[in-house]
């Protein structure tokens, strides 16, 4: 019996030739990640357990991104805890405001996570790096504390569901729409405890940024990880970024899957997830006239350069609707700079948007765009739970960057073709 890519990476990191679903393994991690919310809890656990020195100062990443630049005194204290620990332990991957980015956009961009790696993070969207062919998954702060001490983490080897996407995506359909469609199909617990493996010829039409978006939202279907086999596009992407050697794994042809699900991508149109679950997915065109108050383009899901290019394509020469706020947050400092170089920032500012420094900010209702009671937002983020972006009676609609940009112009949920005359 063969193994899936997920099994292979877990086997390799636990020193075994073969692992099977359900088996418990203790695996070595290539990188353990925490942020300004989960890091301080992990640091406390680390100290409580008598930890003096981290197992490897080069294999830990501490990134202040959620409430940074510090939104208030309490979050300043959290960032300070992270900074002081990073300094004392000489953590290699600590990045200060002004040089950082939202963790899940930043680490792949900087070549810190690579194909074949085993990565854990005290953040549920750690599954993002699956797009590069890594096994990566979210854990809690206690798990992270243990990993910082020992370099290890325990896992139950998951079963895998294989998703096969066929065909070239329609105009304005992106990786975001494919993953929203998938979550809408299987539900928010459709892949509970399982690995999601994304394959099919459609994936070869997607750039890395779109692939990262898909893997990012595996957790929204309950998945343990969301993985893709590396191809030429992946290797091209990591070539000049990789800071260390890496290994490419692929699923065996006779690997076992708990389920195989096929999608005809030609039937998929731009999607939107209605409040208050990412599984409430409908076609943008099927939505009635829903007026909105705010649009957010950013986050670890859709705050990368390709996302910004797409939003700019829609916004160019248009104005943001008079009573609506358009908040644009590049996910990393690099994206921020590239936007300026390509003239994208100018397009946004001309349109009447506010452009922020990288931060999670409004994605989790932190700051930089909190919703009042009864307000509605379209966001390129990944969660639309009750109160996610502010008041418990506010609403969040999830979409791709083009739909978000079109909605900002129209002041209601809109298809990009309503704003841009010719399809891309």
């Amino acid at each position: 019996m063969g193994m899936t890519i997920t099994q292979k990476i877990l086997a390799k990191h636990s020193g075994k030739d073969f692992v099977e679903p359900g088996e418990l393994v203790m695996a070595e991690v290539d990188l353990a990640l925490a942020n300004d919310i989960t890091g301080p809890v992990a640091i406390e656990e680390f100290k409580k357990a008598g930890g003096h020195k981290v197992f490897d100062r080069e294999k830990i990443a501490l990134i202040p991104d959620h409430f940074a630049p510090n939104k208030d005194i309490k979050s300043a204290e959290l960032c300070k805890t992270l900074r002081e620990f990073a300094k004392a332990q000489q953590i290699k991957h600590y990045y200060e405001v002004g040089r950082m980015g939202i963790e899940h956009a930043f680490l792949p961009e900087q070549g810190i996570v690579l194909p074949g790696d085993l990565v854990i993070g005290a953040d549920s969207h750690t599954c993002t790096y699956g797009a590069l062919g890594a096994f990566s998954t979210g854990v809690g702060s206690t798990d992270l504390a243990f990993a910082m001490m020992t370099g290890k983490c325990w896992f139950k080897v998951p079963e895998t569901i294989k998703f096969i996407y066929h065909g070239k995506p329609n105009p304005w359909v992106t990786g975001k729409d494919l993953i929203l469609h998938t979550i809408g199909d299987i539900g928010v617990d459709g892949a509970l405890y399982k690995a999601m493996e994304f394959t099919g010829d459609t994936i070869t039409h997607l750039n890395i940024d779109e692939r990262l978006t898909m893997s990012n939202m595996a957790i929204e279907a309950g998945g343990k990880n969301g993985i893709m086999e590396p191809d030429e596009i992946t290797l091209e992407y990591v070539k000049n970024r990789a800071k260390k050697p890496y290994e490419v794994f692929r699923s065996d042809p006779d690997a076992a899957y708990s389920d195989i699900i096929d999608y005809d991508v030609k039937k998929i149109q731009p999607k939107i997830a209605l409040p208050h679950l990412p599984e409430n997915v409908v076609d943008v065109e099927a939505v009635d006239n829903i007026a909105i108050d705010q649009v957010v383009i950013g986050s670890c899901t859709n705050g990368r350069l390709e996302d910004m290019r797409l939003a700019a394509k829609v916004l160019k020469g248009h104005k943001v609707h008079p009573y609506l706020r358009l908040i644009i947050i590049p996910a990393t400092q690099q994206v921020y700079q590239d936007m300026i170089k390509e003239g994208i920032t100018e397009i946004f500012v001309d349109a009447g948007a506010v452009v922020s420094t990288p931060t999670c900010g409004p994605c989790l209702g932190g700051y930089m765009g909190i919703l009042a009671k009864g307000e509605r937002a379209v966001a390129t983020t990944n969660r639309n739970f009750v109160g996610r972006m502010g008041h418990p009676e506010s609403e969040v609609y999830l979409s791709n960057p083009a739909v978000a940009a079109a909605s900002a112009v129209k002041g209601r949920i809109a298809h990009p073709k309503e704003v841009v005359c010719c399809d891309i």
Binding site: L24, M26, V41, D123, G365, G387
Partner: protein
């Protein structure tokens, strides 16, 4: 272990953002977290919950973020045990790691009412509804989870497993 308390019934997909909204994540103080527990869904929860009470929910309890603040808030609000049809993976892991007992029991939230008095034997996986007289069987913990509980939490258990792996 045996727990006794009144039931709080919730639906499917109770996410970590309603268990503890992110706007309160600028603290790690368990008492402060507890005072906001469930507030976006059930504003009365933190004032009415009593020590020993039991949450009984549907599928996918604790979905969403990896914040350990969620099981921490529930635990320090006084909840002794959470029963759900199923749990989100990271929440399950975190609860075990911090010592919040959790049990999987299908559709319990449809058969038990808010306010019913429950008695739970976590070793046997037996949930008794004292109010109605009904008895439910929960799925017993897998062996490796029992190992973590018996070792007194993740840090200790993982050290044991680690030593075994080295041998």
């Amino acid at each position: 272990m045996i727990f006794k308390g009144k039931a709080w019934i919730y639906e499917d997909n109770i996410d970590t953002d309603v268990i503890i909204p992110a706007r309160y994540l600028n603290t790690t103080d368990p008492k402060e977290l507890a005072s906001h527990c469930m507030e976006d869904l059930d504003p009365d929860f933190s004032t009415k919950v009593e020590a020993g009470d039991i949450i009984v929910a549907g599928n996918n309890f604790g979905c969403g973020s990896s914040r350990e603040h969620a099981p921490l808030a529930i635990k320090s609000a006084g909840i002794s045990c959470v029963v759900a049809s199923s749990f989100a993976r990271i929440f399950y892991r975190n609860s075990i790691n911090i010592g919040l007992p959790i049990l999987e029991c299908k559709d319990c939230n449809k058969k038990i009412k808010t306010g019913d008095i429950l008695e739970i034997d976590t070793d046997k996986g037996i949930i008794s509804n004292i109010t109605s007289g009904e008895i439910f069987e929960a799925r017993p913990f897998p062996e490796f989870i029992k190992g973590i509980i018996n070792a007194g939490g993740l840090m200790n258990y993982a050290k044991e497993v680690d030593e075994k792996c080295r041998q």
